[in-house]
Amino acid sequence: MAVQKLPLAKAINESLRKALETDPKVLIMGEDVGKLGGVFRVTDGLQKDFGEGRVIDTPLAESGIVGTAIGLALRGYRPVVEIQFDGFVFPAYDQIVTQLAKMHARALGKIKMPVVIRIPYGGGIGAVEHHSESPEALFAHVAGLKIVSPSTSSDAYWMMQQAILSDDPVIFFEPKRRYWDKSEVDPEAIPGPLHKARVALSGSDLTLAAYGPMVKVCLEAAAAAAEEGKSLEVLDLRSISPIDFDTVQTSVEKTGRLVVVHEAPVFYGSGAEIAARVTERCFYHLEAPVLRVGGFHAPYPPARLEDEYLPGLDRVLDAVDRSLAY
């Protein structure tokens, strides 16, 4: 593969292909990942090239998928599991939080659990119920899991490589409404650490922190704010557990203001943890309370309301204004 512009979905596809080529222990598992290539075509062509033994169409049972992936990992394999949509991960929740997350500790380190769980997540594609959710906080509270979400094709490619190489279970939240966004991937690049945040845009007046699908919205908000003469710094957190608080702290010590943006409901969401910890770390630097922009405490609404529900440019700018007003 040469340096090229790729849609985010295709970047993941290329990353999976590379992993399958490099390590015979890597497996792809999930519903419809074979001939169909997954409902978003992220595994397109992989079964054709690597066979049914490496790219495995599974029975329709998420607990079974994750549970057998655990067994395969115990046997020395490195399964990359696809959950078809965010809202369908819950049948596997028990296996993820009581088994996958805890097995390494339970065995006092004698077992490793190199399992990646890919979950297309978030809204914005006009889907029916259960196809637009952002459940990351429900996993981040659980020790033993690492949770990441890329926002660019390059990160999608490299973070997937790193997730597969990790000896810990990684939940890989893929921003499904960005699957078709193209950006550059350099397959020869040397990636930074998996759990390090990235300063997506430098600024001085206020920090916007986001991950996955919301990074783009924040960059657009920053561009709009710039026209009004406000200089926003945008952080792409990339990792939801752990969170790179050092990078956030550095930024907030500079700007004095933080707005956290995510699609997931605000109540008990990742913004809460970020607000709490950053306030503790930067108490004397903060000119305003950390503000949060996110989903409401309500089920993800029907598609015709999702543009209201999802944090957009204006809601981010509204929070920016409120923060700057302190």
């Binding site: 419809d32 169409d57 369908f88 049948p91 405490h297 015709r304 999702e306 209201e308 204006d314």
Partner: protein, 392 residues
């Protein structure tokens, strides 16, 4: 008559676990099981030792009409999706007999737990077809009143409704009521733990529930071999209740078998599993592209078993319907299509603040606070309310 399956499938190799050549290949699946059929694809009545059905010409025409109108409605929904009026549609094309047959077996006080594809069952329950379209248009998540027609909301999380059905049936039994419950699910769903648990609970509590599996051969792109190694109806026995496979494209057989299973449940004899052997003629949903994973010949071979055509042949052969009837029905179909089309186009978008409705029955300070904040935020755009856009 009990006949060999009308649907011999090409054997497929199980995937993923090829063994070394020293190992024997997996035992062949037992030869195709028997299935209950009362009407052949050619439209001929056949006898069955256990199941029989005696319908008046009017009843036969009724079943025919149900199937035709359901198919017409389904086609309209598919085209509404193409026109952008719906976000998605899950077509039942090919499964009309399974749904109309089983649905017409129900009494009014029976309760139905559907998946997301039971448009035919909804039809016979008297749910206004337009109501089904709300969730596919994206204006609600279902939202019809389940109690109004004893027809529960569509359930998307595969298999979960089977447990609701069993719980409901446990309640029916507790009430000493003389009704039964039917739980629809698919061949793919049979792999979900919830479905297995529903079998266990139904057996242990002897609940008056009929598990009705439409085995339409596919779970999106996965053939049934990815879910099971032996015919599904056989699973019931291991849980302690009977299972039967019925020709799912034969509306008479589906009606007779479901009636019998429901009667059994109403008599307090407990659950039963009915596997309707049928075929998903179309794509999984309008988002799906079946050419990626299945052969045209397979679909073609099933076209010959079309459920509507075979009943039409019977009606014609036995002289129960004439050309005028069919023309009249054609017109009725078109009228239904028009009505649905117009109703969908007229369906208003929900109010933005509806996001906050019905989160809780008893209310919530948190929801009230968020609603008020959001309303104030919206109001802050004053007359230019439209500039509050989404984040796409």
């Amino acid at each position: 008559m009990t006949v060999e399956s009308t649907a011999p499938r090409k054997p497929r190799r199980s995937s993923g676990t090829k063994r070394t050549s020293a190992r024997r290949t997996p035992q062949q699946q037992s030869s195709e099981p028997q299935l209950v059929q009362l009407l052949t694809p050619e439209g001929e009545r056949v006898e069955h030792p256990e199941y029989e059905i005696d319908l008046t010409p009017e009843e036969l025409r009724g079943l025919y009409r149900d199937m035709v109108l359901t198919r017409r409605f389904d086609a309209e929904a598919t085209s509404l999706q193409r026109q952008g009026e719906l976000g998605l549609w899950a077509s039942l094309l090919g499964q009309e007999a399974a749904q109309i047959g089983s649905g017409r077996a129900l009494h009014d006080d029976d309760y139905v737990f559907p998946t997301y594809r039971e448009h035919g069952v909804a039809w016979v329950r008297g749910v206004d077809p337009t109501n089904l379209l709300g969730m596919f248009r994206g204006v609600n998540h279902g939202g019809w009143d389940p109690g109004a027609n004893n027809f529960h909301l569509y359930t998307i999380v595969i298999g979960s409704q089977t447990l609701h059905a069993v719980g409901y049936a446990m309640g029916v039994a507790k009430d000493g009521a003389d009704s039964a419950v039917i739980a629809y699910f698919g061949d793919g769903a049979s792999s979900q733990g919830d479905v297995a648990e529903s079998f266990t609970f139904a057996a242990v509590y002897n609940a008056p529930v009929v598990f009705f599996c439409q085995n339409n051969q596919w779970a999106i792109s996965e053939p049934t071999e990815k879910q099971m190694r032996v015919p599904l109806y056989q699973r019931a026995q291991g849980y302690g209740f009977p299972g039967v496979r019925v020709d799912g494209n034969d509306v008479l057989a589906c009606l007779a078998v479901t009636r019998s299973a429901l009667a059994r449940a109403r008599r307090g004899e407990g659950p039963m599993l009915v596997e309707a052997f049928t075929y998903r003629m179309g794509a999984h949903t309008t988002s799906d592209d079946p050419t990626k994973y299945r052969a045209d010949e397979e679909t073609e071979s099933w076209r010959a078993k079309d459920p509507i055509l075979r009943l039409r042949r019977l009606l014609e052969r036995e002289g129960h319907a004439d050309e005028a009837y069919f023309t009249g029905l054609e017109e009725e179909s078109e009228a239904l299509g028009r009505r649905v089309r117009e109703a969908v186009r007229a369906m208003p978008d929900p109010d933005r603040l509806a996001i906050f409705d019905h989160v809780y029955a008893d209310g919530s300070a948190l929801v009230d606070e968020e609603r008020a904040q959001f309303a104030a935020y919206q109001a802050s755009f004053a007359d230019s309310a439209d500039s509050a856009e989404g984040g796409k």
